[in-house]
Amino acid sequence: MDLKLFHIFRNTPLGRETLLQSTYFCKKMGATPLVYIPVSTKFLMYFENDVVQIDLDESYLTSSETARQHASEIIDQRDLKPQFLKPRHYTASTLPDIPTHFDFMCCPRSISDLSSKIGLGYIGPRVRRIVNSALFPVLVTSPAYKEWQRIAVLFGGSSNAVNALKLGLRISRTTGMPLDVYTKVEGGSVDSYKKVIRDENLEKDMERYVKKWHLLEKGKFKDNLYKIPHEALVVVGAFGHGLVRDIIFGSKMEQLQSTLSNNLLIVGPKYTAQS
């Protein structure tokens, strides 16, 4: 089946960078970019058990008359065929419903707040809810266009991490790029992580596609992130910590964001990985 990546286009230099990331991803994965040029600052995404209202900042409506042309030019440069999404259903006259049956979605680090807030160390609440509800992985791009030449999977042994690993293997298989797996050994022994791999029947794939499995036994999680190459696409499962842990210790996602400027492909709990 034809893969589709959903992209909300912002007709600004920052939006151009994000679309460039999307088209690069599409080119590598053989996917088609499906671009939505917003006509109002809000829209709804209905997921299986949640409805997320995205309140875009006003910059998404910048120069709407040239938006389609600019987006087409960027997509054409990659020899991809641009497809534009036009909403068919409306919850209210100014509130379109955007379908959610994509294979990937590209988001800047925040889509609901002013561009000035977009930077390292911050993932907007809407992006988090999309990640939590979506059946597809979310590509959270770096602030400036950056081509990735390899894949790095952060594998912590959870079910989301297993899905992230399966996705990483799939991307490596499709793109032919080298794959590295990084595991911060916490609590249990290294064997517990190997057991997860064994239980998931991923041993053969690990041998075949993974260049190196980095088992990081020393140092803090944040410090170890330095080992991840700057030109890697980081595939990671959403960290599902509780509210109390997030408040006391801070979210791992925030730590990841504040340390890495790489493109992130985040796999949420609803994503069903295809190996």
């Binding site: 089946m1 034809d2 088609t32 600052t41 809000k42 709804l44 209905y46 058990n49 949640d50 409805v51 209202q53 309140d55 065929k81 497809q83 259903h89 409306y90 919850t91 209210a92 006259s93 100014t94 509130l95 419903d97 379908p99 049956h101 509780g242 509210l243 109390v244 842990r245």
Partner: protein, 577 residues
């Protein structure tokens, strides 16, 4: 560690064993919770409205008081569109839309946004009612509680109905009307799964209202002695209320259309509509706010103005409601319908007395009640809601027979002139009303991907007929997609009928290429196409199978036989609830 685990468990009540013992028990418990929350929302709005109305009352007689409804509507619009970022709308259609298309999924913000915006609109004097906002609030509470407990679509829809039922029950102190409204208007289906939690929610909502506000009958009245002549006269009243219903529907839509064409900010349009209502209210104060006060007088038979003033008041209320809701104010049409209906009943009664003064007609209060039922039934096209609402809010069953006559005839007339009710008209026009078990709903619940048949053998345009015949021998399909060998792009289709003329002429086997005989412009389907449209295209073009093409690449075939087979299975699922 134990502390964290305990905390984690308490954070997710949906996983508590108590709630997971039995699905029906879970729905009853959550239905009661939703009913209580909806009741609280209704009481909160009621109290807030009273507070604002009392505070603004001393200013009503001052000449600049016409600005008040304008200011209220503007603030309401700003709150709705700028602060909570919620799209405009009357409330109930959004609930029906969520139930029809998205299994009752609603935003959390909807549980409070309309309460505040309608409070601003109605409290300042806008001609609207608090019922639709409370219904939306209750429904959103139900939807979010369902989300919290990780319930499935069917259970979520039931809880949305519970929210609507609890809200109507609480605001009118009318549990049966609440239940019937939820089932007749919001859900559009009676099922055992829905009716029990909805009944529980209605009781819970009513009890909350009675506990906090007392057990009051909204429009209690004296005994009516209804004769056969009065019942016969009800047929004419039904026609009058039907005309008033149609007029109200069309004026609201007309003003909405006019307002949409004005290139001013939404809050300014709402302010303009509100100021006009305020200006009318300076001369006819009955048009302001909910307008329940004159209803009491009419039902008691002590409303003194003559037929011309009463008729004028009815028309003014229709226009004021159109201006308030059409220009962007927030509120519902229940309360205006009750006011307009009672004026219609009074007008009709006075006309009867004028024409036949010697006939001992029943007290005019009875006709006011019947008029209310006629308006509600006509505009909602929901006769049972109209009948039971009036019975419950008037506290008497002696008007039951004429109520049935007025409600059913009014609904019938309105339905023949406006095939969809006020709430559903827009949804029907856009094809968004997908009631369970209907053709549109069954097709909407299926997707192109579910029906895709991928076992097609792809062929190339430069293939010789001889090679193609070999492929046909080992295939069980009649259709073959033709693809460009290099790009993989879809070029056309070959059907067995296309090769029939050459089949018995072996001399042509090495002379004909598939490119020469393929259909290069077949009817194709995109994956995002809706099955309702696909089926129509198949019927119109007499096709039994169509290729699905995405991004110039062949994805598979959709056949009518598979579609209808899946249709039957889906219909069985939907109707066996």
């Amino acid at each position: 560690m134990k502390f964290f685990n305990l905390l984690k468990q308490w954070r997710y009540p949906s996983r508590w064993r108590l709630f997971r013992m039995d699905d029906r028990l879970l729905l009853i418990i959550t239905g009661a919770i939703v009913g209580i929350c909806s009741g609280l929302a209704a009481v909160t709005l009621n109290r807030s409205l009273l507070f604002i109305l009392e505070r603004l009352h001393p200013y009503r007689q001052i000449w600049w008081a016409f600005i008040l409804p304008g200011a209220g509507a503007a603030l309401s619009s700003i709150f709705l569109n700028k602060i909570v970022n919620e799209g405009a709308g009357h409330g109930v259609p959004e609930v029906v839309y969520a139930v029809s298309r998205y299994g009752g999924l609603m935003r959390l913000r909807s549980s409070f946004s309309r309460l505040i915006s309608s409070c601003l609109t109605i409290g300042s004097g806008g001609s609207a009612g608090p019922e639709a906002p409370v219904v939306m609030s209750g429904a959103a509470i139900g939807s979010n509680i369902a989300k919290f407990f990780s319930l499935n679509d069917r259970q979520r829809v039931a809880l949305v109905g519970c929210g609507a039922a609890g809200a109507i029950s609480a605001i009118f102190n009318a549990p049966i009307a609440g239940m019937i409204f939820a089932v007749e208007v919001v859900l559009g289906e009676w099922s055992a799964l829905n009716i029990i939690p909805i009944a529980i929610a209605s009781v819970a909502g009513t009890e909350v209202s009675r506990f906090l506000q007392g057990n009051q009958i909204a429009f209690s009245h004296r005994q009516f002695n209804i004769s056969l002549l009065d019942i016969t006269a009800c047929i004419g009243l039904a026609a009058v209320t039907a005309v008033a219903s149609i007029a109200l529907t069309r004026i609201i839509r007309g003003v909405t259309g006019l307002s949409d064409r004005v290139s001013l900010p939404t809050w300014l349009r709402a302010a303009g509509g509100g100021c006009l209502v305020g200006a009318v209210g300076l001369y006819l104060p009955v048009v302001l706010g909910e307008g329940y006060q004159p209803i009491h007088q009419m039902i008691e038979g002590i409303y003194t103005p003559g037929i011309i003033i009463v008729t004028l008041a009815m028309l003014a209320k229709i226009i004021a409601t159109g201006l308030t809701l059409g220009s962007g104010g927030s509120g519902g049409i229940f309360a205006p319908c009750l006011v307009i209906g009672s004026f219609a009943g009074l007008t009709y009664h006075r006309l009867l007395i004028f024409l036949w003064p010697s006939v001992p007609w029943v007290n005019e209060g009875c006709f006011a009640l019947l008029g209310m039922a006629g308006l509600i039934s006509g505009i909602l096209q929901a006769p049972l809601t109209g009948i039971f609402l009036i019975v419950e809010i008037s506290g008497g069953y002696e008007v039951m027979l004429p109520l049935i006559i007025v409600s059913t005839i009014s609904t019938t007339i309105c339905n023949s002139l406006e095939p969809a009710s006020f709430y559903l008209k827009e949804l029907v026009e856009k094809g968004h009303l997908l009631r369970p078990g209907t053709d549109a709903r069954v097709l909407a619940d299926l997707s192109v991907y579910e029906l895709l048949e991928k076992d097609c053998i792809r062929v190339n345009p430069d293939m010789l007929l001889r090679d193609f015949i070999k492929i046909v021998k080992r295939s069980h399909r009649n259709y073959f997609p033709v693809e460009n060998k290099e790009t993989g792009w879809f070029m056309g289709m070959i059907h067995l009928d296309d090769i029939r003329p050459y089949l018995f002429n072996p001399g042509m086997y090495d002379a004909v290429f598939l490119e020469q005989i393929m259909n290069g412009q077949p009817e194709i389907i995109a994956p995002e196409d809706e099955l309702y449209d696909i089926l129509h295209r198949m019927d119109n073009n007499h096709l039994f199978s169509m290729p699905v093409v995405a991004n110039n690449k062949f994805q598979g075939m959709i056949s009518k036989a598979t579609l209808l087979d899946q249709y039957r299975k889906e219909l069985m699922v939907q109707t066996s609830r």
